[in-house]
Symmetry: C3
Subunit: 171 residues, 3 copies
């Protein structure tokens, strides 16, 4: 018996993570926003755990590897790479796959500074970078409760849907 | 060209986390259930990591901030706050957004006591608090394997759908 | 008023985790693939964090407990248990529930060896075990950045849909 057409199996989820150790005299970037802080991510790139976890979640939704496979951190070519560029490359792959991001839900874990006052600017910036409406950019902030006082961490779930002109097509 | 109506983009996911350090002489609450234990969460509230992570996941699905933005733990007004009240406030926001929780899937990490014997009571209690059928309340339990012997941790994914009377409306 | 039929509430998500401490002279298994390594998981079974987290995510989507409830690690009967067998038992439960796995998205955290070169073989093997097309098996790899140098960890999100012959039925 032939399978019935199943439009909803076209919806996709993705999950991604990132963590960076913090050090003094480094910049702290989250979601493409520079956060005032006495410590920042020790990383080859700008160490933006939110953009890295988001980019990995998007790649994972299409089983396209991870950002390490496209931008290996041992390659001097990518030294100082802006994470915004990584996300742009990944979003282009999403579009080429006939999809668009429908929603993201991220948890950032950082002991200090407090991120609450930065939520709106990070949310607006992520909306700008991804093309999502702000109400589809979910951000919650946690402290590590002693588990990771010297790290910034992020975990992200993304939800994706076919581009409107592709909806209803069989995958 | 106008976008085709897209009912399935109305489905929403959310992801939330919580962790609390454990201490002697404290109560241990999980999913609104008091667990017999020689240690409990050190927290301003009852320290229920399951209800906290769930509440944050729900807020995140609608980009409504996090529980810290509604119930700041430095505010003496919220000292001893029952997490059940937090969840009720959050579920009211979900309803006001025209949605209902469709499913939750949570991992609780705790070294001891063993949580398996408490699964049914936690599941039933969460079903009661959320209005979900029990078969939509997924709970798995892990030990920390040495990574966090003095903490209770929880991570939750939620899935939401428009209230039946709202289904098919454009968002 | 009767609820309108709601096919999309039949979609299910699940989330699962696993971690094992690493030790010398042990085998390292990931997604059913033996990885060349000087350290492997210290576990009662083969310690495959990817298959364990995946199996728990699937059970969680149906609120069927966790792998610890079916295969308790204190029971000598399950000593040396192959995780492939655990996953087979769990996938059978998924089918009996009228569902099939639609997609998985997993993050494996391990400091060494580098997993990138093993991505294709793990992906192919997981596709074989689950019946998923490879493009629905999302795998990203991270190092622990100092947070867990002696552990293998995995977190997995799964997405499920009713078996084609069940689609459109009320749940
Ligand atoms: Mg990174
Ligand atoms: Mg809490
Ligand atoms: Mg295990």
């Amino acid at each position: 018996m032939a399978e019935k057409p199943s439009t909803w199996s076209q919806l996709l989820v993705g999950y991604g993570e990132d963590a960076h150790r913090l050090g003094e005299g480094r910049e702290l970037w989250l979601g493409g926003v520079r956060i005032e802080s006495d410590r920042g991510a020790i990383a080859h790139s700008d160490g933006d755990v939110l953009l890295h976890a988001l980019s990995d979640a998007l790649l994972s939704a299409f089983a396209l590897g991870d950002i390490g496979s496209y931008f290996p951190d041992h390659d001097p070519k990518w030294k100082g790479l802006e994470s915004r560029v990584i996300l742009e490359v990944v979003l282009q792959k999403v579009r080429e796959s006939g999809y668009r991001l429908s929603q993201l839900s991220a948890v950032v874990t950082l002991d200090r500074p407090k991120l609450g006052p930065h939520r709106t600017s990070i949310q607006q910036h992520l909306a700008l970078l991804t093309g999502l409406p702000e109400k589809r950019v979910g951000l919650t902030f946690k402290t590590s409760e002693g588990l990771a006082p010297d790290h910034a961490q992020c975990r992200v779930v993304v939800y994706l849907e076919p581009l409107p002109e592709k909806q209803g097509e069989k995958s």
